[in-house]
């Protein structure tokens, strides 16, 4: 397993070019091309703004403008959720490669995660732009934490992606289950409501068990709220857990590796 893990480094060229391929192929043939990567989050933000300022004004103290607050959580959530659903289908979709070419299968789910990370990065300028427009600039010192959160989310997502991809190859139902779990998970995470609301605090333990809470809250604290990061202990703990989870997932993937060529 360790040897295989080490060879992941060797595949970085392959991963890099596959991610590039996915991004290129995604918008090939469309008129706007890469602009869509900016337009999509922009439209999403405009819709949220309209709903939460005009249709259903939300006046929670200290969380204004509300649409921007939500956007801080939704962007990373989209990265997370899309990565997992892409990864779950990645081995099945790449069946031709696994069956016909000597190909390191673990590359496929990782490419899903990394491709969606690039989309996440492309959405960030829109967020920053609007934070500045609304005179709500992030605390510049807090931004030091930003790469750390991203890195932790990357490891956390990659671990889950590996495990899901490996299991989904055997149990196709996982893909459908996952779609539903992700919807539930989204609403169970303080993304469209602030985590310090009394109702949330009542179920604090439950929210702490939901690991994505710590990522979402960290993003909100870094990008949206002023003041120091109150959540860093949880975040670092999640980082430690993510590494363990990644290793465990890789172990599982490695165990099932030989069966992929037969089941996908």
């Amino acid at each position: 397993m360790l040897a295989n893990l080490a060879s992941l480094v060797r595949y970085r060229g392959l991963i890099q070019s596959l991610v590039a391929r996915e991004l290129k192929a995604r918008y090939r043939g469309s008129v706007l091309g890469f602009v869509w990567s900016f337009v999509n989050p922009l439209l999403l933000l405009l819709i949220y703004s309209f709903v939460f300022t005009t249709v259903m004004p939300n006046n929670v103290e200290g969380v204004q403008p509300y649409a921007l607050f939500m956007f801080c959580g939704i962007l990373p959530w989209n990265w997370f959720a899309t990565s997992l659903s892409d990864a779950a289908g990645s081995l099945i979709g790449g069946g031709n490669l696994i069956k016909k070419v000597l190909f390191p299968a673990e590359v496929l789910p990782l490419v899903s995660v990394l491709t969606n990370m690039v989309h996440f990065f492309l959405g960030l300028p829109i967020l920053i732009l609007f934070l500045i427009i609304y005179r709500h600039p992030p605390d510049w010192w807090d931004l030091v934490w930003f790469p750390i959160v991203v890195l932790i989310q990357l490891v956390f997502t990659a671990g889950l992606a590996l495990a899901l991809a490996a299991l989904a190859a055997h149990f196709r139902d996982i893909r459908d289950i996952l779609a539903n779990v992700l919807t539930l998970w989204f609403f169970a995470t303080p993304i469209i409501y602030p985590w310090f609301q009394p109702n949330v605090q009542k179920f604090r333990t439950l929210f702490n068990v939901n690991l994505f809470t710590h990522l979402a809250v960290s993003y909100q604290e870094i990008l949206f709220f002023n003041g120091p990061i109150g959540h860093w202990r949880w975040l670092l703990a999640l980082g430690g857990y993510s590494i363990v989870q990644f290793l465990a997932a890789y172990w599982l993937f490695d165990r099932l590796r030989d069966s992929f060529a037969e089941v996908v």
């Binding site: 391929r21 016909k100 030989d258």
Partner: protein
């Protein structure tokens, strides 16, 4: 000589998952045995105890019918799947021409796909850069290399895949039936490329149905049958053994076809027999002539059996030179057609007829005893008629046989239409309907090199 590929007692068992894929996650979780539950309940051995080694620098052919485990063997060598037991050892860089263009993405250009495919096959960006022009030239895609791959024809797609795979510069090249990828010209180019590989001392493992290729190209061959290595060594000998087995299989199949045709014709016999016997005279002069002259309605070649059965053909057999029943003959063989007949009452008006038809329904030959000026005298009880051909001078193909006993005016006693099938094999792939005895001769200014 050191071997480049070595398989020792390799067994590969595939799992049959049946319908389990749909409902097992829950049960697997309930029993907390996801890993254990992934073990199959039913297994299917694709390879059983296969051992062979390919010396470095040689070309090795694997033949066998569909489903005999050839591709599985190749995948094991390529490392795509792991053997259930036994060891597989390969020395050097492998390139597998198993599925060409397997990693191509349809939306992006041929150029980008070449790079990504090359990286997948283990090349570095620089190496691809260096070989890029060569690859495109080889694939003959200069004009289209910047078009998205989805716009390629399947031939273009395959050529590009082949070109990339072959430019990986492997030590061991695995080829799975991919020579049928292009037109004649491209196939020649591929063969030239293989020849170049051989000269440079690379090892080639070739899985193919083209026995010709194996005989011409390979230093050694292996014949796999139902996952077992039946014979290996000199390609000519292995191919010969394989062909013999194939012939046996074909003969078996033809025997079954014939038995079925006869049975079906016999089943709806009684009703049809009445109708036919009554109908034939009313259909005018042409149908009346039909039985007498099997060539007259060769375009209405419908299998069947009719007649009054006053004389019944009880058995029809094709016999080879040694008198054994057979269904596969070689062009030029001695063949006899034996009819066993039974006449319920003694009869003094009868004609035996024979017709040979090829797969297109064209009558290759037809005759009867009346045409050959034999006037009937008496036929009674059980009897046997034998029609012998000294030399079956037909070209390769599948043939059907008409046999009949009828009156001189064409009234059928028992007419068997195209019920019997046999196959003629030939080393010469000449064309036409029959092969006249012939030979070539030349004046001294014309010379030929004898082919090995």
């Amino acid at each position: 000589m050191t071997s480049a590929i070595e398989l020792v007692n390799v067994t590969k068992v595939y799992r049959r998952y049946g319908g389990r894929q749909f409902s097992t996650l829950k049960s697997a979780l309930l029993q907390r045995s996801i890993l254990r539950d992934l073990r199959p309940s039913e297994t299917f051995p694709a390879l059983t105890d296969v051992t062979f080694s390919v010396p470095k620098g040689s070309t090795y052919g694997v033949i066998g019918k569909n489903g005999s485990g050839k591709s599985t063997a190749l995948k094991l060598v390529a490392g795509i799947t792991k053997p259930t037991s036994g060891t597989v050892r390969v020395v050097g860089r492998i390139s597998a021409l198993i599925e060409l263009g397997a990693g191509f993405h349809p939306e992006i250009s041929g150029r980008e796909n070449v790079f990504i495919n090359g990286i997948m096959l283990g090349l570095s960006k620089r190496e691809i850069q260096e070989r890029f022009d060569e690859i495109v030239d080889f694939a003959e895609l200069q004009e289209f290399i910047d078009a998205p791959v989805k716009t390629y024809s399947s031939g273009m797609y395959m050529r590009l895949g082949f070109a990339v795979a072959i430019h990986v510069n492997p030590d061991v090249l695995l080829v799975d039936e991919v020579l049928a990828v292009g037109d004649e010209g491209f196939t020649h180019k591929c063969l030239d490329k293989f020849a170049e590989f051989r000269r440079r001392g690379k090892t080639i493992l070739l899985v193919t149905h083209s026995l010709n290729l194996v005989e011409r190209f390979c230093d050694e061959a292996l014949w796999l049958d139902e996952g077992r290595g039946l014979s290996h060594g000199d390609p000519k000998r292995v191919v010969g053994a394989y062909l013999t087995k194939v012939e046996q299989g074909e003969a078996q199949l033809l025997a079954e076809t014939t038995a079925k045709a006869v049975e079906e014709a016999g089943r709806d016999g009684p009703g049809r027999q009445e109708g036919r016997a009554g109908q034939v005279p009313q259909e005018g002069p042409e149908p009346q002539e039909r039985p007498a002259d099997p060539t007259s309605n060769m375009y209405q070649a419908v299998e069947g059996r009719w007649g009054s059965r006053e004389v019944e053909i009880t058995d029809v057999a094709l016999l080879d030179a040694s008198g054994q029943q057979s269904f596969v003959f070689h062009s030029g063989d001695r063949v006899s057609i034996r009819l066993k007949v039974r006449a319920a009452q003694p009869i003094d008006d009868f004609v035996f007829g024979i017709g040979l038809f090829n797969a297109d329904g064209v009558c290759c030959y037809g005759t009867n005893t009346y045409l050959e000026e034999m006037d009937p005298e008496q036929l009674a009880g059980d009897a046997e008629a034998m029609f012998s051909i000294d030399s079956l001078d037909l070209i390769e193909g599948t043939y059907k046989l008409d046999v009949a006993v009828h009156k001189r005016d064409g009234y059928p006693y028992d007419y068997h239409r195209l019920l019997y099938t046999f196959r003629v094999k030939s080393r010469t792939h000449d064309v036409g309907i029959y092969r006249p005895r012939h030979q070539w001769s030349f004046s001294p200014h014309i010379r030929f090199t004898p082919r090995s």
